[in-house]
Subunit: 547 residues, 2 copies
């Protein structure tokens, strides 16, 4: 992997460092008559840039739906190349990527590209024809799972996978109702927005459908039962049991309980061990099934295991597992795996399930290549080693910084919960946003998420190194210190006192923008989506911090 951090490739000067003069000149030259083809511009690495960044942005505003947001809306990144855990912008500037869990085995992995190319040269067709890639991939994938999870359905996205999981669950006993977790996000199609409080809460108070039941998030830092509770797993599971009983009293029937094995958008929440077992027991007793959504967290990210639900112990086996994002290292593919019994009940309806692209030989070749790389490069081991090191480093930060309320994570899935007040655990939303923008200046890509968007979210490509971990934590340390000093927070080993963070965004403004943003998270009006997101109107709070 390439050494160094945040450096520039080659010797080319960045024109914009001198106030944008060079870029402006270049744009002027390239303007020409409207409608004429824009000449291409050579870029570092032999690439070509078709449009200037301003032109790309203008075309995007014209032709892409305004609901499709960009990172860092005030100054979005134009990324033209990526390799391993690094992304490069149009000027050759290099960014350390801590957020793209889709580029699981590393950006642009040559082994994956080669496998895709080889299969594209031969054949890409639908699964109504027999093909070895399909069955070999199904065999390899099910071999990573407990034995009873043996039947696959290949689809194209996490959303398609979760939708199909719901169809399987509903067909199983003819039940309709679904229990989902607070702050959960399971996908963008209609049926999944219905069961994603992360989304439907933004649509007003009547947006919850009657067949949807929301259980408390098993978050032992911010939730109903916390780390001081003697048995939070049972207590949270009991909440699910209560919902089931209530539902049944109303004559309704539970088809499924669905949860990410660890909540991602919901705030990097790791459920207490034993929770899933108990929930599964209650849900099964009600004739429902347990759907483990591994779209964000599967494929070895947790290090110790290949699947995050395995953190609950060997005595827990979900009825349906859904996969997505990392499965094809960016290639659009995903999978639902279930038991023979559920699959046969689904088949008994007589309705065929056909997915045009799902399970095509190219997607399967890519899926196989990803499994190969995880194995050959011991990326699961790497996730465990680097993840543990990253956690250690972050725990040191917690000791030092009053802004750090909680560190949680496993493998290369880590959350840093920023607080304004250690005891009250007041979410430090503006501070998290500030940090993210400051890290971008340092050429580090990190995001903030969770219901208050105050949780720094690490989910880097699995080739992330010890050096990367050290580098990013060092930068965070410096930034936290700066923020704490600027606002009079006490930095040191004693951070237990109730120190009110005095960072205020846009001081003096009667309606500070970041306060709006913070509120918009609380009431859910802004996007809180996987990978984090920065709304168009964001104003970097740093402007108002006295440094």
């Amino acid at each position: 992997m390439e050494g160094g951090h945040g450096g520039r490739e080659g010797r080319r000067e960045r024109g914009w460092e001198g106030g944008g003069v060079w870029r402006s000149r270049l744009r002027d030259k390239r303007r020409g008559a409207p409608g004429l083809p824009v000449p291409r511009r050579a870029m570092p690495g032999g690439m070509e840039e078709r449009y200037s960044k301003a032109e790309t942005l203008a075309l995007r505003r014209k032709h892409i739906g305004p609901s499709c947001k960009v990172f860092f809306a005030k100054d979005p990144l134009k990324i033209v190349r990526a390799q391993g855990q690094y992304m490069f912008d149009e000027t050759g500037e290099k960014y350390l990527d801590c957020i793209n869990n889709v580029a699981h085995v590393g950006h642009s992995h040559p082994y994956v590209t080669k496998a895709a190319t080889k299969q594209m040269e031969l054949l890409n067709t639908n699964s109504r024809f027999l093909h070895d890639n399909l069955v070999q991939y199904a065999q390899r994938l099910t071999a990573t799972l407990p034995e009873k999870l043996s039947v696959c359905y290949f689809v194209n996205s996490g959303s398609e996978a979760n939708d199909l999981a719901l169809r399987l669950a509903r067909q199983y006993h003819g039940h309709q109702d679904v229990i989902t977790l607070e702050n959960a996000y399971h996908g963008h199609v209609t049926s999944l927005i219905d069961i994603s409080p992360y989304k439907f809460n933004q649509l007003g108070k009547d947006s919850k459908k009657e067949f949807v039941h929301v259980a408390p998030s098993p978050d032992i830092y911010r939730g109903k039962y916390r780390e001081d509770h003697p048995d939070p797993a049972s207590a949270y599971a009991e909440e699910v049991k209560k919902i089931i009983e209530e539902t049944q009293k109303n004559g309704r029937k539970i088809a499924a309980f669905i949860a990410e094995s660890m909540q991602s958008c919901g705030g990097q929440v790791i459920p207490p061990v034993g929770y899933f077992q108990k929930v599964a027991e209650y849900v099964h007793a009600a004739g429902g099934v347990f759907i483990a959504d591994e779209v964000q967290v599967g494929f070895g990210r947790v290090g110790k295991h290949f699947w995050a639900f395995q953190l609950q112990g060997e005595d827990f086996v979900p009825d349906i597992v859904t996969m997505g994002k990392p499965i094809g290292n960016g290639h659009p593919m995903s999978c639902v795996v279930t038991t023979r019994e559920i699959a046969e009940k689904f088949g008994a309806s007589g309705l065929e399930y056909f997915n045009t692209f799902g399970g095509n030989p190219v997607s399967c070749a890519i899926g196989l290549a990803v499994l190969d790389v995880i194995e050959k490069e011991d990326l699961q081991g790497n996730a465990m080693r680097v993840g543990s090191y990253l956690l250690e480093l972050l725990v040191e930060q917690k000791k030092k910084h009053p802004l750090v309320g909680d560190i949680r994570g496993v493998g290369l899935f880590v959350g840093v919960d920023l607080v304004k007040d250690q005891q009250k655990r007041t979410p430090a939303t503006a501070e998290a946003l500030h940090l993210i923008y400051k890290l971008k200046e340092q050429k580090i890509l990190l995001s903030a998420d969770g219901p208050y968007r105050n949780i720094l979210k690490f989910k880097p490509p699995m080739c992330f190194t010890m050096e990367d971990a050290k580098h990013v934590v060092e930068k965070i340390d410096v930034l936290l210190t700066e923020m704490e000093e600027a606002t009079g927070m006490k930095t040191g080993n004693d951070v237990s006192a109730n120190i009110q963070c005095k960072i205020k965004a846009n001081e003096g403004s009667p309606q500070p923008e970041s306060a709006n943003e913070s509120t918009s998270h609380l009431n859910g009006a802004a996007c809180r989506q996987e990978n984090g997101f920065y709304p168009e109107k964001h104003s970097v709070p740093s402007k108002t911090i006295r440094t």
Copy 2:
């Protein structure tokens, strides 16, 4: 393109011609101890086969959902390679492909593969980063559409596209109800099964949701208003108007009318010109939008135009167009295009729309390459020329064969409606199935679809040639003649008489299998899916034809 039809590649002998001895021996050798890796076997063209066909089938039964069906269930095809309009099985046998509309610019097109590889080597990430491919592709795609259709959402499948189209439509004026056509199929996710009579009719009589309204299919051969009606376009549109009025009386509100620009699974139905304009007028007056589903029929297939809805005339512009299958020549991608107004209403909800894989630089590079090939190889022109020739040849067949009731089509989208009785137009379902199986023996892949699965469905890769058209029609001619002779149907120029086709499947059987199949279409219990499908229990009717 390679010449000849149905020939074998190379000089290798097919072992199974001698009674399967060679294949059996080979399988025996490869069995080995269970669980051990199976040695690969060299195949024609330098490929390798990992498993024997029987092993592939066994693994498929074990690991792939039973709802996922194969073509020709009694003897499925194992396809290992494809090029242009040809597919090759594991023995090197070559098939002429008349059904794969996904391989739009031809199977394994090197230009598309090259574009994918080049981009995969550089970058594949989500659309929250700016990228030229995304905006360039959106620009190129919208340039093929009427001006007001200017805003794109990139997604991964036709199902994701149609689901998003419904979300856009419902957000537009807050209406919920949807008008769909008889026999329509719009996708496999929950929200689309709800609006697909092709699917929900199979789930029992209470399966239609109250917000769904089914309008008669504008089929002038089998529908309510036929070719002898003075104005079928207005008459069918009037039916939609009646539905709207009825709906409004019940206090409900129409969000959308959705229809394929030409019905594919529904039976290759081409709506009469002027129908869409009138429907759009009524739907707009009710505050709804017109969704044109071009997933099966777009991208120049109709020859004269790039989009099938353009067959209705320049005065018709849908509010939303959905795309899919051919868009990436097999790569999982699709798109929704709409107006600025609808896109802004969608954005106004505050809900972000994020699709992890949608619009990634690789998918966009592939989409651009497909557009390039269509243009460079004049595939739209080819569709027009070869399609017209194919229609001419088939019209000759209609004159000659009493089994041919109707020929309809445009460009390389053609349907042959087989009937047992020219006047009653009784669907010749068993005969269509027989023909499909016989054509397979002749190394030609064709399918039958429609509500009675009696309609031969041509939708070949767009590089289909005059020679291919001639070849397949010659084979059909011979087979139709054989079938008519075997059953005493009169073959010749005078086929208007009421000649009852005497082909009976499994004569003497109290419950003939193919009769079951035929019934299962009538009541919808069997799959009638795009690309046609042959259920596991199929028995080739030819066995009972006295030849």
